[in-house]
């Protein structure tokens, strides 16, 4: 009889040891950084109108609802009906959408009048120096156009004679 009892005790001992060993790393799983490296991609640029955040590449339906009825809606069918681009005009800016996998995603925001400023505080008519002050040096410059890339979005700031005269956010398709 003793042999059996020894085995059962040993088995119980092993079970508890193994079970104890399992959760310790499992609880530590919270810090498993194998996958973490990929999640560190930066988010995109965000334009804000009143309370609504407009994220490049995001779903346009909730944003369009939140912004209320647009002043004008323009729809342009691409050739051979391969998707319909839409441009909503609001006071001071225009919002462009593009179909992607059955959903209209936000493809661009174009600032029209000086009254509207970017979340970072840039406005039409500001001097060139404002750009680097607000957005830093990480730009590429071509024919007076400053381009900053952040995540899957791009911010283009057009200048003529050193004065900002157009601001455009665009989503970069992966």
């Amino acid at each position: 009889m003793r042999g059996i009892r020894g085995k059962v005790v040993a088995a119980a001992l092993v079970a508890t040891a193994a079970l104890a060993a399992t959760p310790v790393p499992a609880y530590a799983w919270g810090f498993s950084f194998g996958a973490k490296a990929e999640e560190k991609a930066e988010e995109s640029y965000v334009f804000r109108s009143g309370e609504t955040d407009i994220v490049m590449g995001g779903d346009s339906a909730p944003v369009v609802r939140a912004l209320g009825t647009p002043l004008d809606t323009f729809e342009a069918d691409s050739c051979a009906y391969q998707g319909k681009d839409k441009i909503y005009s609001y006071s001071g800016f225009e919002l462009g959408t593009h179909p992607d996998g059955g959903v209209d995603v936000i493809s661009s925001v174009y600032v029209l009048d000086p009254a509207v400023s970017t979340p970072e505080g840039l406005q039409l008519g500001d001097p060139k120096s404002e750009i680097t002050k607000l957005y830093g040096k990480g730009y590429t410059l071509e024919n007076g156009v400053y381009r900053y890339v952040k995540g899957s979005s791009e911010l283009a700031i057009y200048t003529t004679g050193g004065i900002v005269d157009a601001i455009e956010y665009t989503a970069i398709a992966e």
Binding site: A11, A21, T22
Partner: protein, 526 residues
């Protein structure tokens, strides 16, 4: 170059033509050149690590062999015997051990640095940066198949150390063994004595082996393209949103996940083994109908066999008979009695093996937990086996087919539950267990949630039919005869329609080409 790509098929066709046109003595150099080309196509820089592993293991193996021969010659020359001889041999063994350890540390060190630096840095990030992610991290691209060829090369080195085989003097022939292109991607991990000779044999064109090889590849493509890749989106959605998909969806997710993993991994291996067979080279099998296992122990003797064989031969047995485990056994015997004394080396070796298996599968604590969970279940079932055998001998119905089916289902369920450790935290796993059994609600059968899985009704039908076909083929293999022989034994027309039907199924129902990106095999990101 992906196995599932036009480039690979074109590469294979050209190589096949050249292989059988060239005179015999040029055949294996051609294979070597092809393997190097295949490896370079996956990114030029990574070949440096492959060359390092190949050259170091080749060179050290030659050194070991030389030491053994010189020692034997010395013994004969000095006419040593008895104690003196044993002392001299022990001294030589010590020197050889140092050479072996150097080789192992170099190669496994290389693998560890390349594969686990992020894991290590991540933990550093937790300890010193409060897990905020600012800590350093590297994004090295893991060289293709490093986990596989490193094991294969070190296995060769250990075999030479144990004098099981003679070292290969010719570096080129050895390089072919390490880098033979079909198996570099995701194994199987071959032993030197079972593969090296085949590689350098010259062969003449033989339509039967080509046909068998092509058929096996076609079956691999079917499993990968028609079943695995079609179910993949649904699996991804369920696995990534455990909170949304409760109750019945945990079951669907589990079956879908297992189908995808089985079809993806065995499909890939079929393509690899089929491709090698085109050249008359027989690679070791990696699977033996795993889902017919009636216990987890049996499952791990049928799943990824070449990896498990490697771990058993080169880690499990050596560790279990190492001095450390003998000391452990002695200590356990003194304090906890004979039973514990006998088990100590077994547990010590098992935990070591399963830690390594876990960390090999992925550089994160999830996989460590997965490994240990497997280990725990195996050890517990080993401990309870006497009780279990008595239970079986007492009840006759345990020998019935119904009970066998129950055991198969139970093993499948246990394996799936352990798999969950790979993806979820402990509490999520437990909550999913709960919702699996108690969380099934009628509203879950609504179309909307099902539709969100990203698969249309037609997709589910195709996946279901392909799963049935795989199940049928699995059953047909029960009596050991390969299904392919049986197909080739069919009369002309039936054989044509079976093969042509499978070919069309892959061509039409396969998930490939525009709209689907050439998907990676799950197992070749290692």
């Amino acid at each position: 170059m992906l196995l599932v790509s036009y480039e690979f098929l074109f590469f294979l066709a050209v190589l096949l033509a050249l292989y059988y046109l060239l005179p015999g003595r040029f055949q294996w150099p051609l294979l070597l050149a092809a393997s190097v080309l295949f490896y370079l196509s996956g990114g030029a820089f990574a070949i440096v690590f492959l060359i390092t592993t190949t050259v170091t293991t080749w060179f050290l193996a030659l050194r070991l062999e030389a030491m053994t021969e010189r020692a034997a010659a010395r013994v004969k020359e000095l006419g040593l015997s008895g104690g003196e001889k044993r002392a001299f041999q022990a001294a030589v063994k010590q020197k050889k051990k140092r050479v072996l350890i150097a080789g192992l540390i170099l190669n496994f060190g290389l693998l560890a640095v390349l594969k686990y630096t992020n894991f290590f840095l991540g933990n550093v990030d937790v300890l010193f940066f409060g897990g905020s992610g600012e800590g350093p991290y590297v994004d090295w691209l893991l060289p293709l198949g490093i986990s596989y060829y490193t094991f294969q090369a070190t296995g060769y080195l250990i075999d030479v150390y144990h004098k099981k085989i003679h070292a290969q003097k010719n570096l080129a022939r050895y390089a072919l063994f390490v880098s033979f292109f079909p198996q570099i991607v995701q194994g199987p991990i071959s032993r030197f004595d079972e593969l090296a000779a085949q590689l350098t044999e010259s062969r003449r064109f033989d339509w039967l082996t080509i046909r068998l090889g092509l058929m096996r590849m076609l079956w691999g493509f079917f499993k990968k393209l028609v079943a695995a890749d079609r179910i993949a989106p649904a699996v991804a959605v369920i696995v990534q949103n455990p909170d949304q998909y409760q109750g019945i969806y945990v079951w669907i997710g589990m079956f879908a996940y297992m189908l995808q993993m089985f079809a993806d991994f065995t499909g890939g291996i079929d393509i690899v083994i089929g491709a090698a067979q085109l050249f008359g080279i027989r690679l070791p099998e990696n699977f033996n109908r795993p889902f017919s296992s009636r216990s987890l122990a049996e499952f791990w003797r049928r799943w990824h066999m070449t990896l498990m064989r490697w771990l058993r031969e080169y880690i499990f047995f050596p560790v279990s008979t190492s001095r450390a485990s003998q000391k452990l056994s002695g200590a356990a015997r003194r304090f906890l009695g004979k039973g514990a004394g006998r088990r100590a080396p077994l547990y010590f070796a098992s935990v070591t093996v399963w830690l390594i298996t876990g960390i090999w599968h992925g550089a994160s604590w999830n996989f460590v937990a997965w490994g240990l969970a497997n280990c725990a279940v195996l050890l517990i079932s080993q401990e309870c086996s006497p009780l279990y055998r008595r239970f079986c001998s007492r009840f006759a119905w345990t020998a019935s087919r119904g009970y066998a089916a129950f055991e198969v289902a139970r093993t499948y369920l246990v394996f799936c539950m352990i798999e969950m450790f790979e993806y979820y935290s402990f509490d999520v796993v437990f909550s999913m267990f709960g919702s699996m059994f108690f969380g099934i609600r009628p509203w879950q059968f609504s179309g909307e949630l099902a539709a969100s899985l990203g698969l249309s009704a037609a997709d589910w039908i195709v996946v279901g039919l392909s799963a049935l076909l795989m199940f049928a083929v699995g059953l047909a293999q029960r009596d050991g005869r390969s299904v392919r022989e049986r197909i080739f034994a069919l009369p002309g027309w039936q054989r044509f329609f079976v093969i042509y039907g499978l070919f069309l199924a892959v061509l039409v129902l396969g998930v490939y080409g525009q709209g689907y990106d050439a998907s990676q095999f799950i197992y070749n990101q290692f």
